[in-house]
Amino acid sequence: MFTIIKNRVIQLVVVLFILSLFTFTLMKMAPGDPVLTILNADEMVVTEEDQAELRSKLGFDQPLYVQYGKWMFNLMQFDLGKSYMSGKPVIEELLTRIPITAELTFFAMTIMLCITVPLGVWSAKYVNKWPDQFSRILALVGASIPNFWLGLILIYLFAFKLSILPSSGIGSYSQIILPAFTLGFTFAVVYARLLRAGLLQSLSEDYIYAARARGVKEWRILWLHAFRAAVLPVLTIFGLSLGSFLGGAVVVEILFSWPGLGSLAVDAIFNRDYPVIQGYVLLTGIFVVITNLVVDLSYYVIDPRMKRKEEALGR
């Protein structure tokens, strides 16, 4: 087990290194001169000396590998530089936005589970009957509908036509329903199909027949015996797709004027506020890499057979 963790952590470091290199390169490839951007933000006359001074102050006159080294060194101390626009440290900006996005994601996941579990179990119970077909159609729709369009339709229906839910802003629970549903729905219907597939497979295992033969009640078989085995692969895929969840959150945040990480990133893009974009990309990247690692390792905890297989391969 220890070797596996060690190898995975080494892999993690390599991946993070590539990620940092990638972000740094992109930042350097970005068009436009950040020095001019900063100076022009004050709307004052820019002289050559001002430019040269700021350039050396920011260290832009040194060779690239020195810049990368310094950048990396600062990164290790959680120093991502300062935002060109607000002048505040990027890490501070990110930290204030994280809880807001986390709240949205949490509620979206709750709604997702409330749809996925009943829908998945229902369609597994009535395979190829109408509940199953219904969930199949929902999954097709969920995979084909643009997220932001679903959100727009929901805003139109619930905020404008029926005026029962607010269309934007944060603070109250009624404001969270629409964005969380928009974000959760498309994932929920697809996961419901995965759960159904998992349930069907575990329902055909011998221990289910054994349980039936013992006279265990049908709902107990479905919810306890089969569900436990079926939920593991779904949880894995769920963990692995946290990244796409964050991606979807960007669109939803813009749509519902939700001042989270995604809004921060999109604003930064339009303002060419590169340190903030970079901070956002690094943060999400690190988050996703670590989640993947945790999911990978949880495999071995949940299913010891994996561990033996891996060790036999000598990895």
């Binding site: 390599v14 991946v15 993070l16 290194f17 590539i18 990620l19 990638f22 972000t23 992109l26 930042m27 490839m29 970005a30 068009p31 436009g32 395979v127 190829n128 009957k129 109408w130 077909q133 199949r136 097709l140 729709v141 995979a143 084909s144 509908i145 643009p146 997220n147 932001f148 369009w149 727009l152 339709i153 139109y156 404008f160 597939a197 069907l200 497979q201 329902l203 055909s204 990244g243 796409s244 964050l246 991606g247 979807g248 960007v250 669109v251 813009i254 990133a265 999109v266 930064a268 893009i269 339009f270 060419r272 590169y274 974009i277 990309v281 999400t284 990247g285 996703v288 890499v289 993947n292």
Partner: protein, 283 residues
């Protein structure tokens, strides 16, 4: 994997055989392609000229779906938009395949160090979710359609390389390849004659399903303003354009959204049908 499906009775007509769904997708696809190609010749109005006297007009014989906030014919813009959305998507998917397939064939066949190196790079790139990577590239290089396309290509090719690589790795040690080698075939010939045909159907399935995803990504990012820029009749950009008016004129957002939905649905139906037909394992 031996999945035993419990009693099947009375499957509704639509799902009776997967071929029917595929045919629906295919029919959609043919109609869409047809409209896309002949579209510019049949549109009733000029899609770019603003006509403020006719702004937000209701559907009429002159404007089948009414006009938008600048008095432009929505119907004409949708049809011209099909050309840009589908054209961009086709270009992206073809480029991705042209980059991903050869790399997958070669590194799968050679293996060893090259293969390990590639897998590490791929892990690094894939650590970022597709959408966020697209945002990163659009963010650093500036929001434009070209940059959006570059960013999608940058992320997508890896999936093709991975699929091709894994097939080549399982095939390259089989006896018939050995026989071909003994028979004096060059490596190039083995790749071309024996490896390539194996990858055609999985790659086609992957590409068909990807088209839907690419359309969704392009339109989402265009909606955020990071892709096609406003005067262009790209569907996502049209939605973004009509957003301020959508309380008074919801049709500005309903039609482009429906267009995106149906096109993506068509490709998803087709992709899933092909997957079942060729029995390609989903990843």
């Amino acid at each position: 994997m031996n999945v035993q499906v419990p009693r099947i009775n009375r499957i509704p007509f639509f799902f009776k055989n997967q071929n029917l769904m595929t045919s629906c997708g295919l029919l959609f696809f043919i109609i869409i392609t047809f409209i896309t190609i002949i579209g510019p010749f049949i549109i009733p109005n000029e899609p770019f000229t603003a006509n403020m006297a006719e702004r937000l007009a209701p559907p009429s014989s002159a404007y089948p779906l009414g006009t938008d906030h600048m008095g432009r014919c929505i119907f004409s813009r949708l049809i011209v938009g099909a050309q840009s959305t589908l054209g961009i998507t086709a270009l992206v998917v073809v480029t991705v395949a042209l980059i991903g397939i050869p790399i997958g064939l070669v590194i799968g066949y050679i293996g060893g160090r090259m293969d390990t190196l590639f897998m590490r790079i791929a892990d690094g790139i894939l650590a970022l979710p597709e959408f966020i990577l697209a945002i990163a590239i659009a963010g650093f290089l500036g929001p434009s359609l070209t940059n959006l396309m570059i960013s999608i290509v940058f992320v997508k090719w890896i999936a093709y390389t991975r699929v091709v690589r894994s097939i080549v790795i399982t095939e390259r040690n089989k006896d018939y390849v050995l026989a071909a080698k003994v028979g004096g075939s060059s490596n190039w010939k083995i790749i071309r004659r024996h490896m390539f045909p194996q990858i055609v159907s999985p790659v086609l399935v992957l590409a068909t399903l990807d088209i839907g995803k690419v359309i969704l990504t392009i339109s989402s990012l265009s909606y955020l303003g990071l892709g096609a820029q406003p005067p262009a009749p790209e569907w996502g950009a049209m939605l973004n354009d009509g957003r301020p008016y959508f309380q008074s004129a919801p049709e500005l957002m309903i039609y482009p959204g429906l267009a995106i939905f149906f096109v993506v649905l068509a490709f998803n139906l087709m992709g899933e049908g092909l997957r079942d037909k060729w029995d390609v394992k989903s990843r």
